[in-house]
Symmetry: C2
Subunit: 232 residues, 2 copies
DNA sequence: CTATAAAATTAGGCAGACCTAAAATAAGCC
DNA sequence: GGCTTATTTTAGGTCTGCCTAATTTTATAG
């Protein structure tokens, strides 16, 4: 319904209104580092859509609808920023910049999960387990991470991951099968060129637990069947 | 240098190339749910800029430069997706959609931090501490979170946070002072309407540790000075 | 090998988000 | 109050990213 840019305008108007008596178009322009005419035309659109009140040469204010939206975006910004900064330990400036972009894509579900993660961490801390602190310490001590292998094509011993035995390291050659399954696999990082290894499996042989890029995933039989691999 | 959309095209071309012999413009269109002419013009631009190889009625392939960028975006996508899905426990479809938007804003620093967080969690798990599992359990047991108070203006007993005593709950009324300081405070969620409480402080009185929206932050003296509050 | 169907491309249009240059309005000063 | 200066707005332009409709090219069937 609203573009990212429009959301940004609302958010900024809100933030400016917290520290300025009257928010003028030029304030917004300064804030974004763009020219006033650009702001004016953006404001016209926002006014047409009922998100702001604005008269020629007057101050900009958010309508009820605009305020609601601004608070919503701002909440996601804040949550994302805090998460990056205090959970992941990303430096201030970078966290801020990343949050500016990410806020528009963060769903309420994700934002809630982040908030809950704070509470969780806090609870643990009160119980004497400092997850944040331990993570930061961990990062300091283990600064390097391996790089991903590149795709390479040979066809000796190709088979489906569903028939590979546990503990055998394989290179993923190709994905196959249902579109939706492929999307999931690709999302999880099950992609050609990566190395996988079956780590464990359910009592009936499936689901299998695979180790990929240092991370453990669980695959159902149909998913494992659409992964074509070769022994590494 | 490249727009988000252009990055999306490169990423999609890469993903399609993993499962399709020849990637045609119509495949891309189908993937994005847009019309072929739109794809054609996007491809022309990408070709001009040297990111793809493409001839009329032919297949699309990524150039070296294009492949590099595609892998880069894809890596951020994957990392973000995994993080949302497996650390925060966001449902599959939502995690996927969020990651699609967030990938363009995630800096290398943030991506690295997320990757390290995986390793960290895995290390802890091997040591018998299942952070993920505990977090999910925590979420199930504690489903509700309080809402944020709205801004309200009265001027009885307003003062700066820097002079407030420990353990007194205050409502933030306004921010004041240096632009950069304000930005940081706003980013952290120190905004009008929120309730704060000083929890602890350094040996010299500063920095102070405040509790805000269930989260603990540390503020330096200058930061505390630009926060104007009223006792709640 | 031609007729027809399907797919890809060109042409042209529209909205968003920015710009510069020029005109209109508001503010400050004697 | 009138004049200069600063600010704001209008006018008009560009580029991206999508669209539809028309055209061209390729594929398919008889």
């Amino acid at each position: 319904m609203l573009t990212h840019t429009a959301e940004d305008y609302l958010e900024r108007i809100y933030m400016l209104s917290l520290r300025l008596e009257r928010v003028k178009s030029s304030d917004i322009a300064k804030e974004f580092g763009i020219r006033t005419p650009s702001v004016i035309s953006a404001l016209k659109l926002l006014k047409e859509k009922g998100f702001v009140h604005y008269r020629k040469h007057g101050a900009v204010t958010l309508s009820e609808k605009g305020m609601e939206r601004a608070l919503d975006v701002y909440d996601r910004h804040k949550t994302t920023y805090r998460f990056l900064r205090f959970v992941l330990g990303v430096p201030d400036g970078i966290a801020s910049a990343d949050a500016c972009g990410m806020e528009h894509s963060v769903s309420p579900e994700t934002a809630d999960a982040m908030k809950d993660f704070f509470s969780f961490i806090r609870l643990k801390k009160d119980a004497g387990v400092d997850i944040q602190g331990e993570f930061q310490k961990f990062r300091k001590e283990k600064p390097t991470v391996g790089k991903r292998a590149r795709y390479s094509d040979t066809d000796s011993g190709t088979r489906r991951l569903s028939v590979v035995k546990d503990g055998i390291r394989c290179v993923i050659l190709k994905l196959d099968g249902d579109r939706e399954v492929k999307r999931r696999l690709l999302d999880m990082g099950v992609i050609p060129g990566e190395t996988v290894e079956i780590r464990n499996r359910g009592p009936l042989g499936f689901p299998i637990e695979i180790l990929i890029q240092g991370y453990v995933l669980t695959l159902r039989r149909d998913e494992a069947e659409s992964v074509i691999v070769r022994e590494a």
